[in-house]
């Protein structure tokens, strides 16, 4: 495990002594030009509430997305906005942000926001509320007001490489099991491979079949790939909790692995926030472009299919529907690739109402599934997803994010429903065209 920068450790110490001034400084540090316009533009129309599953199921106005940004807006208007000095002098500036306020807003900025971005679709001013919540969380973390569960997860990620403490021995064991299962060798630390596969801890522990599925698909398609023995974990708790320092420290491990193994591509796994962290935020967090390209696994499978290298035979005949992971579809830009793959392997693919970019979140994204106190609210929010799924009459739900999958399975069980949740990569692997039988040349007896 690579050394942890002091800046990342210092972030975690903030929880020991919450300080509203540090939080305000953290908010203000996030106010770039584009953010200022986002913070200034709201007309308080409240339409964002109609897009948020937390508001829709509770009808509690506190869960109005733009309201969640109130402490950051106040800090900005008091300290940084144009005319703030004049307004302060005239007694017209908002009051200082207090520790009590931030403690109250911890629930609004974390427990009740998945960073799903559905609210941006409906906002007439086009405000990227999820993006701003992501930035506000930087202030909350710096001030020590993020949920304790997230500080602990970040500590584990920095110490062990995984937010749930999954180390190399656990992954090695899963690799061995998958090698036995598939009869294929899983390449580890192969220098000069084209593709580096990184995984989420949830995949390693909960859905390890993904490793076998990848082995089969890549063997079938002739893809040169490898797993790293260090820097293999892609879930980025730093991005979820709102700490650039933690996020950068975790990303640096993947980048180090990719550079060590001299790969051309890093494959972002079936994990929405991993994709967001690795593909979009990563270079900004590290302050430099990558020497490799990042490709989401669904994007790669779609590309292989287009090139004729991913040949399948037969289709799943059940009625299947697809859950769009927010960070891969709405905020990741990949709405069509999973659908093309679904149509390739499913004979009964049905879309949900409001599919694609307008789909509802599973309820557990943005670190919410890691916050114990948010569990009840998360299960309530599932109601929106449940209605969507039930409208399809689907016999199974397919997705391409291990966290969504886990959250959905938990909520389905909690709700007393009976609905299998499948991973898209595994589903594709299941319908791969069998390898041609090797015909040995005839020998004369």
């Amino acid at each position: 495990m690579s050394a942890v920068p002091d800046s990342a450790r210092a972030v975690l110490k903030a929880a020991e002594a919450p300080d509203s001034r540090k939080a305000v400084a953290g908010f203000l540090a996030q106010v770039t030009r584009d953010a200022a316009f986002q913070l200034e533009a709201c007309v308080h129309c409240g339409q964002c509430a109609d897009a948020c599953h937390f508001y829709l199921v509770t009808r509690d106005p506190r869960y109005t997305p733009i309201h969640k940004l109130r402490p950051m807006v106040k800090a900005y208007q008091r300290e940084r906005a144009p005319f703030s000095a004049l307004k302060k002098r005239l007694g017209l500036a908002p009051p200082e942000v207090t520790a009590e306020e931030l403690t109250e807003w911890s629930e609004l900025l974390y427990d009740s926001c998945n960073l799903c971005g559905r609210c941006t679709l409906v906002c007439p001013m086009g405000i990227d509320i999820a993006g701003m919540v992501r930035r506000a969380r930087e202030g909350m973390v710096a001030g020590g007001f993020a949920p304790a569960d997230l500080y602990q997860a970040a500590q584990r990620a920095l110490d062990t490489g995984s937010p749930i403490g999954v180390g190399w021995p656990a992954l090695r064991r899963q690799i061995e099991l998958q090698e036995q299962e598939t009869g294929l060798k899983v390449p580890v630390d192969v220098e000069g491979a084209d593709y580096l596969v990184v995984l989420s801890s949830m995949e390693i522990i909960g859905f390890a079949e993904i490793i076998g599925a990848l082995a089969r698909i890549f063997h079938h398609a002739g893809v040169s790939w490898t797993l790293p023995s260090s820097g293999f974990e892609a879930t980025n708790i730093g991005v979820q909790m709102g700490s650039r320092d933690v996020a950068a420290a975790l990303l640096e491990r993947i980048v180090a692995a990719a550079e060590r193994l001299k790969v051309k591509y890093v494959i972002s796994p079936e994990c929405g926030h991993a994709y967001s962290a690795l593909r979009w935020e990563g270079p900004n967090l590290l302050g430099r472009p990558y020497p490799f390209k990042v490709v989401q696994i669904v994007e790669l499978l779609d590309q292989l299919a287009k090139e004729g290298r991913l040949r399948t035979r037969g289709k799943d005949t059940r009625r299947l529907t697809f859950h769009d992971p927010c960070q891969i579809v709405r905020r990741g830009g990949l709405p069509q690739a999973p659908r093309r793959l679904m149509n390739q392997v499913s004979g009964g693919f049905v879309e949900m109402p409001d599919r694609g970019v307008a789909n509802f979140c599973c309820g557990g994204g943005g670190g919410v599934s890691a916050i114990h106190r948010a569990e009840k609210l998360r299960f309530s929010a599932f109601e929106c997803k449940k209605r969507q799924v039930e409208a399809t009459g689907a016999e199974a739900l397919v997705t391409t994010c291990a966290n969504c999958r886990n959250v959905l399975e938990e909520a389905i069980e909690q709700d007393g429903m009976s609905l299998p949740v499948l991973g898209l990569t595994e589903l594709v692997a299941q319908y791969l065209e069998p390898d041609p039988v090797q015909v040995l040349p005839a020998t004369n007896a």
């Binding site: 106010v31 770039t32 030009r33 584009d34 953010a35 200022a36 316009f37 986002q38 200034e40 533009a41 709201c42 007309v43 308080h44 129309c45 409240g46 339409q47 509430a49 109609d50 897009a51 508001y55 009808r59 106005p61 506190r62 109005t64 733009i66 309201h67 940084r80 906005a81 144009p82 005319f83 307004k87 971005g117 941006t120 679709l121 409906v122 906002c123 007439p124 001013m125 086009g126 405000i127 990227d128 993006g131 593909r279 979009w280 990563g282 270079p283 900004n284 302050g287 430099r288 472009p289 990558y290 390209k293 709405r330 905020r331 990741g332 830009g333 990949l334 409001d354 970019v357 307008a358």
Partner: protein, 214 residues
Amino acid sequence: MTVLGLVEGPLWYTAATVFVVGALWRIGGMLALPARVELSEPRASATAGAVRSILQHSLPRPAFVRQTAFHVVAGYLFHLGLFAFLLFGAPHIAFIKERILGFGWAPMPRWAFIVTAEIAFLGLALLWLRRLLDPVLVRISDADDRAGLWLTCLVMLTGCFALQETDESLRILHMLSVEAWLVYFPFSRLMHAVLFLFSRGYTGAAYGRRGIAL
């Protein structure tokens, strides 16, 4: 100098200066902040995303038509009515020609002025009702929202009186309320009239480079 001369002379130019300088100062203050540096490899054009977003957020998405119908209809009634009588009302065109641009254009008939004003009033009243009654808006509204709404209402109301052209004091009252509105504009949420281009544009650019039409 007569009261009308004062109101349409020095006071008008003072209010107009505060309006223009204040708005530019506010936008300039935000533009002076450091820009966000994007180092990730774009999938598509940020500029195209910005343009698309500016246009796209003018209309409700299919997924939200039912939930947002009231606000969208009320908002369009108010804004369309407002811009129609503001830009095509005969007294406004005459004022713009005399005091601002030096040229004018064909005005709408008087009956159309009255109809568009009524449409705008209806929209404003619906928006006001929603702000009063919807629990979400009650929670998130502040003094600025109320001040902007009432000031706009006052300008429109005094404008209706002034339209009668029966008494000079009614024109003075309208001009004073317009000047108060202009002075308040740069410091308030009324600035959304300009800021929407930036907020939609920045979001559209950020998502556009990811290949997303948000």
